[in-house]
C-alpha cells in the first residue's frame, strides 16, 4: 500500500490515509465475524489497488487522485439533522429541494427514503404508503451484494464495501400488481471535508414493476467524496425504471455504480442527469442473463467551469436476443470535461444481440472537452451493434436565424441546447421522471454561463 500511496499528490495521499484509517475502525467495530471478514477483504483490496491511475482503462480520462484535495474522513454519525440549509440551486433550501422532488414525483409516490450525509433519516423519510408487496429495509448496510463487472481493478467496489455506513434494500414480490414508486433523496449538509458511503440492493421478483427516483442534493463548496453502489436484480419480465438527478455542491465528488442482472425478458431503463458537482461519475454494469431482456441507458452530462462528468457503461450480452441501448448527451461550458466510456460485450452464444451506443456532446466553451470511447467486443456474427460519437458546437447559422426573429441570444442558445437534449428526455417513459429530469436540466440552461456567448 505504502508504495502506491506515497506516489500520490499530497491531497490524494491525505484522502487515502483518512479513508484507510476509517476502514480499519469500521472493520474493528463490525458486529459479526462475517462482516469483519468482508470488510477486511475489501479494505485489503483497496489498499492493494490504491486510487485508480489513468493507466487503468476505466479511469483513462478522469483523474480521481488529482481531484482529491485533502482528508475525507467518513462521517461517523449524522448528529443533528438540519435540512433547512441554504441550497445553491434554484430552491431555497434542502428541505425545499426534497419537497420539490416529492412534488415532481407526484401523488402516486409510495415511499420517500431520505439519507442525510450518508445516514438514513427516519425523521425525513416517509414510508407509510408502501404497498404490502414491497419490502423495504432502510438504514442497514447490505454488505453481501455480488459484484458484476469491474473484477480485479475494482477500486470503487472495495472502497465502498470497506466504508459503507448505511443503505437500504427494496424487494418487490413476484407479480406484485400495482407499480411501486419510490423516491430516494441523498442530502449533503456537511460543513467540513468528509466522505459518505452507501449501498443498496434492489430485487424485483418475476413480473414486478418499480419506479425509482433518486435525487442527490448538496450545499456549498465543502469537499466531499460520496460513493454509492446499487445492486439490482430483475427476475423474469420484471421492469425497473430508474431516474437520477445529481445536483451536488461545487466541491462534491460523486462516484456511483448501478449494477444489474437481468433475467429473461426483464426491462431496465435508467436515466441519469449530472448537473452539480466537481466530479459526477456514474457506472452502469449490466449483465444479461436471460434472453429477450432490454436495457436502455440515458445520461445527460451538464457541466460548468472546473467540473467533470463521467459515464461508464458496460453491457454484457451473455445470452441471445437482448437489446442494449445507451445514449449519452453532454453540454459542457467553459473548461468543463465530459467522458463517456462504453463497452458492449457480446459472448459467442449471445446471438441476435442488439447493442447501440451513442455519445453526442455540445461544447460551449473554448476549453471544454469531451472524451468518448464506445467500444464493442463481439464474439459472434449474428448481432446488430452500432456505436457513434459526435462533438459539436452551437450552430451559428441557426443562432442567427433565431435572433433575426427577435429572440434574444440567450434564449436562442437555450432553445438550441434544449433541442439538442430533447431526445434524451423523450426516452424517459414515465411522465413524472421525465418532468423531474427535464425541469432540472432546463433550469440549468438558464444559468448565465450557459446563455452567454464566450468572450
Amino acid at each position: 500500500m505504502s508504495a502506491q500511496v506515497s506516489n500520490l499528490p499530497q491531497g490524494a495521499h491525505q484522502a487515502v490515509t483518512s479513508l484507510m484509517e476509517a476502514a480499519k475502525r469500521i472493520e474493528a467495530g463490525a458486529s459479526t465475524g462475517e462482516e469483519t471478514a468482508l470488510r477486511r477483504k475489501a479494505r485489503e483490496q483497496f489498499a492493494a489497488l490504491g486510487l485508480p491511475t489513468r493507466r487503468l482503462e476505466a479511469w483513462r480520462y478522469t483523474d480521481l487522485a488529482g481531484a482529491l484535495q485533502g482528508p475525507l474522513p467518513p462521517l461517523s454519525s449524522s448528529g443533528d439533522i438540519q435540512l433547512n440549509e441554504p441550497f445553491k440551486g434554484a430552491l431555497g433550501s434542502l428541505d425545499e429541494a426534497l419537497e420539490n422532488a416529492r412534488a415532481q414525483a407526484g401523488g402516486e409516490l409510495s415511499a420517500s427514503i431520505v439519507f442525510v450525509d450518508g445516514r438514513f433519516s427516519a425523521q425525513h423519510s416517509r414510508l407509510d404508503k408502501l404497498p404490502k408487496t414491497v419490502r423495504l429495509r432502510a438504514g442497514y448496510v447490505p454488505l453481501a451484494n455480488e459484484d458484476v463487472g469491474d473484477g480485479d481493478n475494482d477500486m470503487l467496489g472495495s472502497l465502498n464495501l470497506s466504508l459503507a455506513s448505511d443503505g437500504f434494500e427494496i424487494i418487490v414480490d413476484p407479480n406484485a400488481g400495482a407499480e411501486a414508486f419510490i423516491h430516494l433523496f441523498f442530502a449533503s449538509t456537511h460543513k467540513e471535508s468528509c466522505s459518505m458511503h452507501s449501498r443498496a440492493n434492489v430485487r424485483l421478483g418475476k413480473g414486478a414493476n418499480l419506479k425509482l427516483f433518486e435525487t442527490h442534493a448538496g450545499i456549498g463548496d465543502v469537499p466531499c467524496l460520496q460513493t454509492h453502489i446499487t445492486d439490482v436484480t430483475l427476475d423474469e419480465s420484471a421492469k425497473l425504471e430508474h431516474a437520477c438527478v445529481e445536483d451536488n455542491g461545487t466541491q462534491h465528488i460523486s462516484l456511483a455504480r448501478l449494477k444489474a442482472r437481468l433475467k429473461q425478458e426483464a426491462q431496465l431503463s435508467c436515466a441519469a442527469l449530472g448537473v452539480g458537482g466537481k466530479l459526477v461519475r456514474r457506472e452502469y454494469n449490466v449483465l444479461f442473463e436471460g434472453g429477450g431482456a432490454t436495457a436502455k441507458l440515458s445520461a445527460l452530462s451538464l457541466a460548468n467551469a472546473g467540473e467533470t462528468r463521467d459515464i461508464n457503461a458496460k453491457l454484457h450480452h451473455k445470452v441471445p436476443d437482448c437489446i442494449s441501448d445507451t445514449l449519452v448527451k453532454s453540454v459542457l461550458t467553459d473548461d468543463a470535461r465530459g467522458v463517456f466510456q462504453g463497452l458492449v460485450r457480446v459472448e459467442p452464444g449471445a446471438t441476435q444481440s442488439n447493442g447501440q451506443q451513442t455519445s453526442k456532446a455540445l461544447l460551449l466553451g473554448r476549453g471544454a472537452s469531451m472524451n468518448a470511447k464506445p467500444e464493442l467486443e463481439i464474439f459472434n456474427d449474428d448481432v446488430e451493434c452500432a456505436h457513434g460519437s459526435a462533438v459539436g458546437e452551437l450552430d451559428q447559422e441557426a443562432l442567427f436565424y433565431l435572433r433575426a426573429r427577435g429572440i434574444s441570444e440567450g434564449n436562442a442558445r437555450q432553445l438550441l441546447i434544449n433541442a439538442f437534449l430533447n431526445d434524451v428526455f423523450e426516452r424517459i417513459e414515465d411522465d413524472a421522471l421525465q418532468l423531474a429530469v427535464e425541469s432540472r436540466a432546463l433550469n440549468w440552461l438558464e444559468d448565465a454561463s450557459v446563455r452567454a456567448r464566450e468572450a
Binding site: D395, Q396, E397, A398, F400, Y401, L402, R403, A404, R405, G406, I407, S408, E409, N411, A412, L415, L416, N418, A419, F420, N422, D423
Partner: protein, 261 residues
C-alpha cells in the same frame, strides 16, 4: 413616429470575411414605399440583406445605415428584429429539435415585449397563426414540425412569409422569396406580401426575376452589380432587365466610370 426616412443607406462599403463586397451603396426607403433590387448572381444583394440584419462576419467598412434615424450598427441582431426589421432568408435555416410553433410564439412575444405589449395568450396566438397559415395555404401540421426541417423549397418560403405576417415588420427585406416557387405558390406568397403593404411600412424585395414584381408592383427598382447600385428607376426597369438582361446596365456603368476618370 420620427420624420426621418425609414431606412437610409449612405455610401455603404462592406466586406464579408475580409473580402470587399459592397462598394458605396446609397439607398433611401420612405415609409409606404416598395423597392426592388435586381441584379445578377454574386452582385451583393444577399450581402446587403445580411448587413441590414446584422449577421456576424458581415462588416461595414465605410458609410452608415440609419433605421428610423438611428445607426443600425449600434443595434444587435435581435434588437433590429424587435424594432421591426425583418429579413426573409434566401436560404431559410433548418433547426432540428425546435418546433416551428414554439419558435413562432417566442418570436412574436419578443417583438410584442419590445413594443410594450403583453404576451399573446396561447389561444389568441394560435388563432392568428392558423389564419395566416390558411391564407398562405401552409399546411397546419407543418407547425408542429421542426423549423424548416424537411420542408420543400416552397414550404420554406411560405414559412418565411408566415413569420413576416405574424411579426408585422416596419421594414421587410425579402431575399429571393420568389425563387423556387411554382406559379400558384408565387401568387399566394405575393398576396401575402401585398397584404402587409401599408403607409407605415416599407419593403425591399430582392430578386433577379421580374415574376414577383408583376404581382407586387414596386415603386422603385434598382439594379445592382459588383456591389453597387448602377441604375435606379421605376417598375419599367424590371421589364428592361427581363428583355435585355443586365449586360446593358453594366456596360453603361463602365462607360460612366471611364468618363469620370
Amino acid at each position: 413616429m420620427s420624420s426621418a426616412p425609414l431606412l437610409q443607406i449612405q455610401n455603404l462599403h462592406a466586406e464579408v470575411d475580409g473580402k470587399a463586397i459592397l462598394r458605396g451603396v446609397d439607398l433611401v426607403l420612405e415609409r409606404g414605399q416598395v423597392h426592388a433590387i435586381m441584379g445578377p448572381n454574386g452582385s451583393g444583394k444577399s450581402t446587403l440583406a445580411y448587413i441590414l440584419a446584422g449577421k456576424d462576419g458581415y462588416d461595414i467598412t465605410d458609410g452608415r445605415i440609419l433605421f428610423e434615424g438611428s445607426d443600425l450598427a449600434e443595434m444587435d441582431v435581435e434588437t433590429r428584429a424587435r424594432a421591426g426589421l425583418f429579413l426573409g432568408f434566401q436560404y431559410p435555416v433548418a433547426i432540428d429539435g425546435v418546433a416551428t410553433i414554439s419558435f413562432l410564439k417566442e418570436a412574436v412575444n419578443a417583438r410584442r415585449a419590445a413594443a410594450g405589449k403583453d404576451k399573446l395568450d396561447a389561444v389568441a396566438f394560435l388563432k392568428q397563426v392558423r389564419a395566416f397559415a390558411a391564407q398562405l395555404s401552409f399546411d397546419e401540421s407543418m407547425l408542429k414540425r421542426y423549423i424548416n426541417l424537411g420542408f420543400s423549397g416552397g414550404e420554406k418560403k411560405r414559412a418565411e412569409i408566415l413569420q413576416m405576417l405574424l411579426l408585422e415588420p416596419t421594414l421587410a427585406v425579402l431575399d429571393e422569396t420568389d425563387s423556387g416557387l411554382d406559379v400558384d405558390a408565387l401568387k399566394t406568397v405575393a398576396t401575402g406580401i401585398e397584404s402587409l403593404r401599408s403607409p407605415e411600412r416599407a419593403m425591399l424585395l430582392i430578386t433577379h426575376y421580374q415574376r414577383l414584381l408583376q404581382h407586387v408592383r414596386p415603386d422603385y427598382v434598382h439594379i445592382m452589380a459588383d456591389g453597387n447600385i448602377l441604375h435606379s428607376g421605376g417598375p419599367e426597369l424590371a421589364q428592361k432587365v427581363e428583355d435585355g438582361g443586365y449586360a446593358e446596365f453594366q456596360q453603361s456603368a463602365r462607360t460612366a466610370q471611364t468618363a469620370q476618370a
